[in-house]
Symmetry: C2
Subunit: 246 residues, 2 copies
DNA sequence: GAGTGGTCTAGACCACGAC
DNA sequence: TCGTGGTCTAGACCACTCT
């Protein structure tokens, strides 16, 4: 069951190695997202370590967002982020802090094309491999607010390429999980400032050259691979973001 | 020495109460910023608890940024943030990621006035109490890049009101500590977009109505009190910020 | 070598959640 | 009532830092 307790730290603590072993088992799909893993006492017995040691290992994975503890119930594999977090960057009329409504999603276009050099790199694909590119408009109460370009690596998201986008959900990440088995675990957003070109302005019902925020996102699955590139544009004057330092 | 081990958890764990007790002793100034606190084993003996318990208490304060552990040396009271972090929002010519230069600081004006209602609230002052308001221009290589308005509650920062701003440092936070005994421990920044008015544009050598990023900062001391309000404006096209989700 | 924080053990009991 | 994670103990030994 174990093969873990090699003589002595080859460069890591025991709980560090345990964490890696458990992470591997999760990545392998031994427990699906949302499922419980065995109790701490069980794991401690199986691996032949003290309870405190297994708890430290689990704490690492909890910090990492892979696991969640629930007192009295058990330790669960994270279900992934829902993607609604894009809204935290924007505040729209009648949408005061706290009240977060999911905007309606409308797919404008969907097409296959060859990956660019950069895309092949971040997706770890061979040069010239195919990607699926989506254009998407998100609206609140019929008012367009966000314009997105989404790029997905192809073998993985093949189910979406063959599917009719009219039946798609307003949130993509839960759909990635259902249809493609891809769990989004982390995202990294880079914010900058730009101006809308003619096409973008028309879609968002704003003037050409209107100031916009540019959110460039990389989304990663539970194994840490980048599986989505997304560019979002929205009215700069609806933008608000809060950050803490230390 | 203790008086901590009351019969039973009145609403908190033992390590939670220990953390609060230690936090109070730090706030009281028993150990200055940058100083070591007693060893874990010593604290455990003094409070009459096990080593693991005191370690949990210390971990809370470490997470909170009040303490820092250094293996083999001891546990130290945090010295506070240096304030140079404002630059992480902006990228200027010749300033690639990583290379962080502190811009030169020039105080444009300094005056006393009555606190606004909001200022009195966030500073926990009585209505009509005095504040010190600074206008400040920050430049890289003689090129103006950031324009700041800084508001400080008055009894606390009296030493700055009486001082000649020509001798001030480029970084204010270390100066707050030296001259006023105020350690900045946390900051919270809110980002949004705006446009420069005539005065602001002139100072930054940009056109009127030029798009700008607005950074509204609240800075807190080690006791968690807000002790500075700062508004910073900079060229929107020089803005770049990265954020992680989960 | 002496002192510090970091890891690990093997137990005990408590608080929460579901049945 | 039972199983879960959360707290706490009293030890042991390891790894880092300074002198």
């Amino acid at each position: 069951m174990s093969t873990l307790l090699t003589d002595h730290t080859p460069g890591q603590s025991r709980y560090g190695k345990l964490a890696q072993a458990l992470r591997d088992r999760i990545l392998q799909g031994e427990w699906a997202p949302g499922e419980v893993i065995p109790a701490e006492s069980t794991l401690a017995q199986n691996y032949g370590v003290a309870l405190g040691t297994i708890r430290q290992a689990l704490s690492l994975l909890v910090e990492d967002g892979v696991l969640q503890r629930r007192h009295g119930k058990g330790t669960f594999v994270t279900k992934g982020v829902d993607g609604a977090s894009m809204m935290r960057f924007f505040r729209f009329r009648g949408l005061d802090d706290g009240a977060s409504t999911t905007p309606h999603s409308h797919i404008l276009s969907s097409r296959l094309r060859a990956a660019s050099v950069r895309e092949a790199q971040v997706f770890s694909m061979s040069q010239g491999a195919q990607v699926l590119q989506l254009e998407r408009l998100r609206s609140l109460d019929t008012e367009p607010c966000l314009l997105e370009t989404i790029v997905l690596p192809l073998p993985l998201f093949g189910a979406l390429a063959d599917s009719d986008s009219h039946g798609w959900d307003d949130l993509l990440y839960p759909m990635y999980q259902e249809r493609c088995g891809v769990v989004i675990q982390k995202t990294q957003d880079t914010l900058s400032f730009s101006q809308l070109n003619a096409t973008q302005a028309k879609r968002l019902k704003l003037a050409v050259s209107h100031p916009c925020v540019l959110v460039e996102r990389q989304a990663f699955d539970i194994a840490g691979r980048c599986v989505e590139l997304r560019t979002t544009r929205g009215d700069a004057f609806s933008f608000k973001y809060t950050a803490q330092v230390q």
